[in-house]
């Protein structure tokens, strides 16, 4: 079964792409992903804010307590260099990943300043990344900021980066836009080579015992795929760009659903973190088997077949679907 696919102009041997996660921190793991059959890899994100924080913190503890008492003028030896306080370590990682892998290497960037987005995107391109994913983790908490302005920020970042680099650029989106369809169009107009649905924000939890807000990391579940699935299905055929599914992809069935909704690729992390990289090969085999059993000749035949433009009951993706589901909960459920 031919599982090859084209994502952002890159030739992928199949549509399964491990998404940005700590798994990509080691070249050996990346190699194992390739060996397991991944079509491409997305590296962990270069966080501009983290770089800034590392730099400030390093400086703080290097100067702390120094030049105060004559016996202890300093407390630490001078290291020849610190690689984590600038983008160097990340760029080196991109380079090494490129050298080690045959499959496309997609870098990921999370900037905070305009200068940062452009500078780091260019450097990532120079380092040899095949493509770049923009990972905008932005919680618009300022009350004076309007939805329109928030959208503008996304579009501007994308436009700036696209002007700075020649490699394809994907936009990883949050599901919280008021008008996601319009937003998608605007991003495509600004040059997005792919839209990725969706960025999964970790939501903090509350600790009642200690009266604290605590960070909480929960791996995704398959049911969480519904939201991106719905939007991919809605947008497939309506925006001229590749659509990528991420969040909640755990099984071959999930991948197939993604394809059916219209996704070019399916990205996964939780499943691999939980059950190992071997899952890539297993899922791929299951996908291929299902396609054969169901007499599909290619991925393209399946892709988008259950998108809104192609299904028999398009309203199912819209409000009607909601009414139906809600009304199906009877007193027995309460």
């Amino acid at each position: 079964m031919d599982l090859t696919t084209k994502y952002m102009g890159l030739n992928l041997k199949n549509p399964i792409v491990p998404s940005s996660s700590p798994l990509s921190r080691h070249i050996s793991t990346l190699r194992r992903m390739e060996d397991a059959g991944a079509g491409a890899v997305v590296l962990y994100s270069l966080f501009e804010e983290e770089i800034r924080m590392e730099s400030k913190t390093l400086n703080e503890y290097l100067v702390q307590g120094t030049e105060i008492y004559p016996e202890s003028i300093t407390f630490f030896p001078e290291a020849p260099s610190y690689r984590m306080v600038g983008p160097e370590a990340y760029l080196e990682h991109v380079q090494r990943a490129k050298a080690a892998l045959d499959i496309p290497v997609i870098a990921s960037l999370n900037g905070v300043s305009t200068g940062g987005w452009i500078e780091y995107a260019s450097k990532i391109e120079e380092a040899g990344a095949d493509a770049l994913e923009l990972n905008i983790y932005y919680i618009p908490t300022q009350s004076e900021l309007t939805g329109g302005e928030v959208e503008d920020i996304y579009v501007e970042v994308l436009r700036d980066v696209k002007q700075a680099v020649n490699i394809p650029v994907a936009m990883k989106l949050s599901p919280y836009f008021s008008a996601l369809a319009n937003m998608s169009h605007r991003l495509v107009d600004a040059g997005a080579d792919a839209l990725i649905f969706f960025n999964r924000f970790y939501q903090p939890d509350l600790d009642l015992e200690n009266l604290e807000v605590v960070p909480h990391l929960v791996l995704s579940e398959s049911y969480e795929m519904r939201l991106p699935l719905r939007w991919i299905a809605l947008l497939y055929g309506r925006v001229e760009t590749d659509l990528a599914l991420t969040t909640g992809v755990h099984t071959a069935e999930d991948v197939l659903k993604g394809l059916a909704a219209g996704a070019t690729v399916s990205m996964m992390a939780s499943e691999l973190l939980e059950n190992g990289l071997g899952r890539i090969g297993e899922i791929l085999a299951d996908v291929a088997l299902w396609l054969v059993e169901n007499e599909y000749n290619s991925l393209d035949e399946l892709r988008g077949s259950l998108s809104q433009v192609n299904v028999a009951a398009p309203a199912a993706f819209e409000r009607a679907n909601y009414i139906q589901v809600v009304s199906s909960y009877g007193p027995g459920y309460v």
Partner: protein
């Protein structure tokens, strides 16, 4: 620009330590070191260069090894030399003393080596880290040649000359220079080109050195034992080598001159050719003598000086022939003291040389000149041109004073010469700038950069010297910067400045900042008040000085700039930019344009911070760019308007000694104290920190009684004992100030009492450990707890009043409280308070607890280190006493011998108990059988039993007093008197041996091991910070795997030594491993059990430290994480349990439940490695995890094992 580049290559602005290390690293193959102030930076630099792959002149990277003590370093050096490697070491003071035995061996075996020594005082009546020659003088009979450098340039030059000479002479060299004055002074020098080093070091001689090495390929034996028949003769075999050495040194000096143009002589003469009065001196003081002689000769005086370069072997003939024929009087200046001698060493050498050479007819003069000797500059005491002139004036006397001192006022033995303090010989074309900063604001760092900028980018010569504080928190620094058209030889502090900067506004209330400002000088003040309003905020005397001296006055609100640019409390680059912008005004000539200056400041920022990331660099750039727009010139009013003056530094209630002596030291005027003001045997009053209110915290804790659950945890953790709690009867609160807070006591025993918690805001350092320790949160707003930080200034006055009232309320005593509970034992009075330790110190809370539990009957032997500094450094000391006048008796012997020192205290006490008991027994009938028996058989385990015994001893002494007055006992009066003087020994005393891991794990381990094995009842408290904190974070054997420390820049590759387990193997040692942040209950339990255990006890306390690289307010949290991760399992090993048939080993913490990285990567010492060498960090993390697992399993097994049932005592 090209010219500038060339200048940068031609000159370097470095300190003496760097100058020595630079050469030593080039010409050695092995470097064995041990840190000791002020020589530590030499070893650290050598280690850093080797870590960076810097090679020596033969292309190999020298191997740098840190040993467990200087004795060990010397042994390693000896071995390495014997095995043929060119080897060196760096040391000072007591370190050199520990090397002495090996030095005799090395010299006796004619082994070529150079030891580089930053000469420092030896501890006598007190320790001092500062410079003099008492250490090197104590090494003068080892057989090492002694070569003295006087300036930074000479340090570099002589390091090489010594190396060249030792290889040829085979006599080992001790190359020394003055601690701090030379080791830490920055000066512009011409560095040695590697080609010069190559040229000076003869490879044939290196090969000859190698050929003399031990090798099984050509075996011989060296280091034999000899008998009376031949030892003497063999000892005399070396004479020819010593005879030749001066000549070899001179040849090396001459060759050096041909290569560099800098000519030195064994003895350099400076001054008038027809001089009649000559001073002989060596070390940095020679620089001041040189300056003064030149000045006096210009004034027409017939004076000169001989600068001693090669002190040993002393070339008498060469010396005498350096003197002018016209000489009539000579003064030898010694920077050391040899009590009881007929004179100090240089003086004696001089006298004998002159007498001997005169007898031989080898002198340029025929009549013997008068020779006198004098002492100067002990412990870096200032030595100024005025003092040099006084020495010459003395020589002009008919009968010059001999064995004089200069630089102090000796009103006891009347040795001192008077000098004219107003004499200044510094030329006008030298800029003299003085900066007052706070340690934490970065002033010194920026000034070091300024000196380099001026030294390396202009034609000016530059010098920087930095004076630090005696406290580790809230410390003041004073930077002395000079630059001018000629090399700067002024080895003394600036006495008259044409620029004064005060980087902290609060200093204007405390110090006489402008006393050094000369007429017309420029004054820059960091002030929250603008140019228009600052005037009214200055004390009257400061206004007077500004008006009278016609100062140009500028203000800058540096903290606002720092705040706006994200610099926090670091105002260094802001103040630096302002200084450079005022340079034109100060110098009257364009030195650097404003643009050039800013460019160079930024260049320096890039150099200093570049490695730490662009963010930090940009932040500093922003601060520089914003600085000048915030600096404004003040229109100085013609009139003085202020009606207030700087308040006195100690209150009127302080004891007389504190008023008359301590206060002067606090004010920075200790130099003016006469000899009679100081105790003659190093004994000082306790409890003096209470009189020094430093007001260093910007924010202080404020108590919220409504939220408080009265647990005592904030009191427990407070490193400076500024938070205290009391439970009192309601009536006691009558007359309390209006703002005094209290609440109903939540103590079952005292439910009708009032609870109060009070903060001494003037003593607080603002560390906020208390806030983090507080478990009680405000339910509506959990961001607030029962204790919260708030600005100090607005509440200072009210809280001072509240504190005063609080102090009138009674503490509970140990018999009234449950000692094992923090809530209760924190009601006890701390007898350790307001130390100068770092804000947030992890050591001091343990000491405070110790003082609360046993302070009134404790003797403390304290190893040298942080705890001896904050515990015993003048002016004020924290060990205190209670209302009855009892408190910890504290002393520090050395670094290496602390266990033995405390052991000595124990055996003395034990012996006194035996003597007292014997006497009591023999006087049983006369004194009374009941009282005598009660005393002899008293069981002093519980606190009330100790108190009861104290009562009985009071009774006994009363009875003895009566008997001594009673004639019927006249015959036994001597016995009665003896018993009276010994009686107090019969009240239980507790000996605590306190020190850090450098002492316990490394330098003092042999002694500690012996003392633990002795079975004596001593308690050892190891404050384990896992590095040599006091000397700046060098690796110890307590340093954990994967942590970065000096000498472990690539992360410590091996695991921490398990000191506790080593002690446990004895079976009869009580051992506890504690961490107060993880379990306060277990901590207290361990202290109580250790003290109660009648045998040796060892407590190893996890101690967070500034050298761990994080905000110490989270110290307790980190302690908890250390335990939860399994890195620091808590346990107690109590041999008494074994006697009871129980397992003596009790694990007090649970199995690892937190991944190790969650604990360690919150600390800079570990995190640094992930930033500098991520792969190495990852590898070491895995190994460290395995360490945790293995150790846990080992402890777990121990905790489960069946007791042997027979005890092991």
């Amino acid at each position: 620009m090209a010219e500038q580049e060339e200048r940068r290559d031609m000159y370097q602005t470095i300190d003496g330590n760097q100058a020595a290390a630079a050469v030593a690293h080039k010409v050695n193959e092995v470097i064995a070191i041990y840190p000791i102030t002020p020589s530590s930076p030499m070893g650290e630099l050598a280690d850093q260069w080797s870590a960076e792959g810097e090679t020596n002149i033969w292309g190999s990277v020298p191997l740098v090894v840190e040993m467990q003590a200087e004795g060990g370093a010397a042994g390693a050096v000896h071995g390495s030399l014997q095995a043929g490697a060119l080897t060196t070491t760096f040391t000072a003071s007591q370190g050199l003393m520990l090397m002495l035995p090996n030095m005799y061996k090395i010299a006796g075996e004619l082994t070529a080596t150079v030891f580089h020594v930053a000469a420092r005082s030896l501890a006598a009546q007190a320790l001092s880290i500062f410079g003099d020659h008492s250490d090197v003088m104590a090494a003068r009979n080892t057989g090492f040649a002694l070569l003295a450098s006087n300036s930074i340039q000479e340090v570099m030059d002589f390091a090489l000359i010594a190396q060249a000479a030792t290889l040829e002479a085979r006599v080992p060299f001790l190359h020394f220079f003055d601690g701090f004055r030379t080791s830490h002074e920055l000066n512009k020098i011409e560095p040695l080109d590697e080609s010069v080093i190559r040229e000076m070091v003869n490879d044939d001689l290196v090969r000859a050195h190698r050929a003399r090495a031990l090798t099984p390929d050509n075996p011989f034996i060296r280091g034999t034992a000899q008998n009376p028949d031949v030892f003497f003769q063999a000892r005399e075999t070396v004479n020819p080598y010593y005879d030749k050495t001066p000549g070899i040194v001179q040849e090396a000096m001459d060759k050096f001159a041909s290569l560099t143009g800098r000519q030195y002589q064994l003895f350099d003469y400076i001054g008038a050719e027809d001089a009649e009065r000559v001073v002989v001196v060596m070390g940095s003081g020679a620089e001041t003598v040189r300056e003064t002689v030149n000045y006096l000769v210009d004034q027409g005086e017939k004076v000169g000086a001989v600068i001693v370069r090669l002190y040993r072997p002393f070339a008498g003939e060469a010396f005498v022939n350096t003197l002018p024929a016209t000489v009539k009087a000579i003064a030898a200046l010694d920077r050391t003291k040899e009590p009881g001698a007929t004179g100090e060493p240089l003086y004696l050498d001089l006298v004998s040389a002159v007498v001997e050479q005169l007898g031989e007819g080898n002198t340029p003069f025929t009549t013997a000149p008068k020779i006198v000797g004098g002492r100067y500059g002990l412990s870096s005491k200032e030595f100024t041109p005025a003092m040099v002139k006084a020495v010459f004036d003395n020589l002009a006397q008919e009968k010059p004073k001999n064995h004089f001192t200069i630089g102090i006022h000796d009103d006891v033995s009347h040795t001192s010469l008077e000098w004219d303090g107003s004499l200044s010989i510094e030329p006008d074309d030298v800029v003299r700038a003085v900066f007052y900063g706070l340690g934490a604001d970065g002033t010194v760092g920026a000034n070091k950069n300024s000196i380099k900028i001026i030294g390396e980018n202009t034609e000016k010569y530059a010098q920087g010297y930095f004076v630090y504080d005696s406290k580790k928190s809230g410390a003041r620094t004073v930077s002395h910067l000079r630059f001018g058209p000629r090399p700067i030889h002024s080895t003394y502090l600036i006495e008259s400045a044409n620029f004064v900067a005060c980087h902290q506004f609060s200093f204007v209330e405390r110090y006489d900042i402008l006393s050094l400002a000369e007429e017309g000088a420029t004054f820059l003040l960091n002030s929250p008040y603008g140019a228009g309003e600052v005037w009214e905020h200055l004390p009257r005397s400061m206004q007077e000085q500004i008006v009278d001296k016609n100062l140009k006055f500028y203000v800058v609100d540096a903290y606002t700039v720092a705040d706006e640019t994200g610099m926090g409390r670091r105002i260094n680059t802001i103040m630096q930019t302002c200084f450079f912008s005022l340079l034109d005004e100060i110098t009257g000539e364009p030195l650097l344009t404003k643009e050039e200056a800013i460019r160079e400041i930024k260049e320096a920022i890039k150099k200093t911070y570049g490695k730490r990331g662009e963010t930090v660099v940009q932040q500093n750039y922003a601060a520089v760019d914003a600085a000048l727009s915030h600096m404004h010139k003040v229109d100085v009013p013609a009139e003085v308007t202020s009606d207030w003056e700087r308040p006195p530094l100690v209150p009127a209630a302080a004891p007389a000694f504190v008023q008359s002596v301590t206060e002067r030291i606090i004010a920075g005027e200790g130099d003016s104290l006469p000899v009679s003001a100081l105790p003659d045997d190093g004994t000082y009053p306790s409890a003096t920190t209470q009189w020094e209110k430093r007001n260093i915290a910007v924010e202080v804790p404020v108590w919220d009684p409504d939220v408080c659950i009265q647990c005592g945890k904030c009191v427990f953790v407070c490193p400076h004992s500024v938070i205290r709690q009391k439970v009192v009867e309601p009536a006691a609160l009558e007359g309390a100030p209006d703002t005094f807070q209290h609440a109903d006591a939540r103590f079952r025993e005292w439910s009708d009492h009032q609870y109060t918690l009070q903060v001494s805001v003037e003593d607080c350092t603002g560390c906020a450990l208390c806030v983090e320790a507080c478990p009680a949160k405000n339910k509506q707003q959990p961001k607030f707890k029962a204790i919260n930080m708030a600005p100090q200034a607005p509440i200072r006055e009210q809280e001072v009043e509240n504190w005063e009232f609080f102090e009138t309320l009674p503490y509970k005593d140990a018999t009234e409280v449950k000692l094992n509970q923090v809530k209760y034992n924190q009601l006890l009075e701390p007898l350790f308070e307001f130390s100068g330790a770092c804000a947030g110190c992890g050591e001091t809370p343990y000491l405070k607890l110790l003082s609360q539990l046993f302070g009134d009957r404790t003797l403390i032997a304290n190893a040298t280190g942080c705890s001896s500094i904050y515990g015993g450094n003048l002016p004020t000391t924290p060990w205190a006493k209670n209302d009855e006048g009892r408190g910890p008796a504290w002393s520090n012997s050395l670094f290496e011998d602390n266990a033995e020192f405390g052991f000595g205290m124990r055996v003395a006490l034990d012996q006194r108990i035996v003597a007292a008991t014997d006497l009591l027994r023999s006087l049983r009938q006369e004194i009374g059988a009941d009282l005598s028996d009660a005393i002899i058989f008293a069981d002093q385990v519980a606190e009330d039993e100790v108190v009861a015994q104290r009562g009985r001893i009071g009774e006994l002494k009363h009875r003895l007093d009566e008997m001594l007055d009673d004639e019927q006992y006249a015959e036994i009066r001597p016995q009665l008197q003896n018993l009276h003087s010994l009686a107090d020994a019969l009240v239980k005393k507790s000996v605590w041996i306190v020190g850090g891991d450098g002492w316990a794990y490394d330098i003092g381990y042999g002694g500690l091991d012996h003392v633990l094995a002795s079975g004596r009842n001593v308690n050892v408290l190891v404050l384990d910070t896992e590095v040599y904190s006091n000397t700046g974070g060098q690796m110890s054997k307590a340093t954990p795997r994967a942590a970065v420390a000096k000498f472990a820049a690539a992360g410590k590759p091996l695991p921490k030594k398990d000191l506790g387990m080593l002690a446990i193997t004895y079976g009869n040692v009580y051992v506890a491993r504690i961490a107060m942040g993880a379990s306060d209950r277990q901590t207290v339990q361990a202290f109580l059990e250790a003290e109660a255990y009648d045998g040796p006890s060892l407590i190893i306390a996890y101690t967070h430290c500034i050298a761990h690289g994080y905000d110490l307010r989270y110290g307790l949290e980190q302690q908890d994480a250390a335990v939860k991760s399994g890195y620091w399992p808590l346990y107690r090993f109590n041999p008494d349990l074994e006697i009871e048939g129980k397992n003596p080993f009790q694990l007090d913490s649970r199995a690892p439940q937190l991944p190790l990285e969650k604990y360690i990567y919150r600390e800079g010492r570990y995190r640094m490695l992930t930033q500098s060498a991520p792969e190495q960090a990852e590898r070491l993390l895995e190994l460290a995890k395995a360490d945790v697992q293995n150790r846990w399993e080992q402890y777990e097994r121990l905790s489960r094992q069946e007791p042997s049932g027979n005890g092991n005592k």
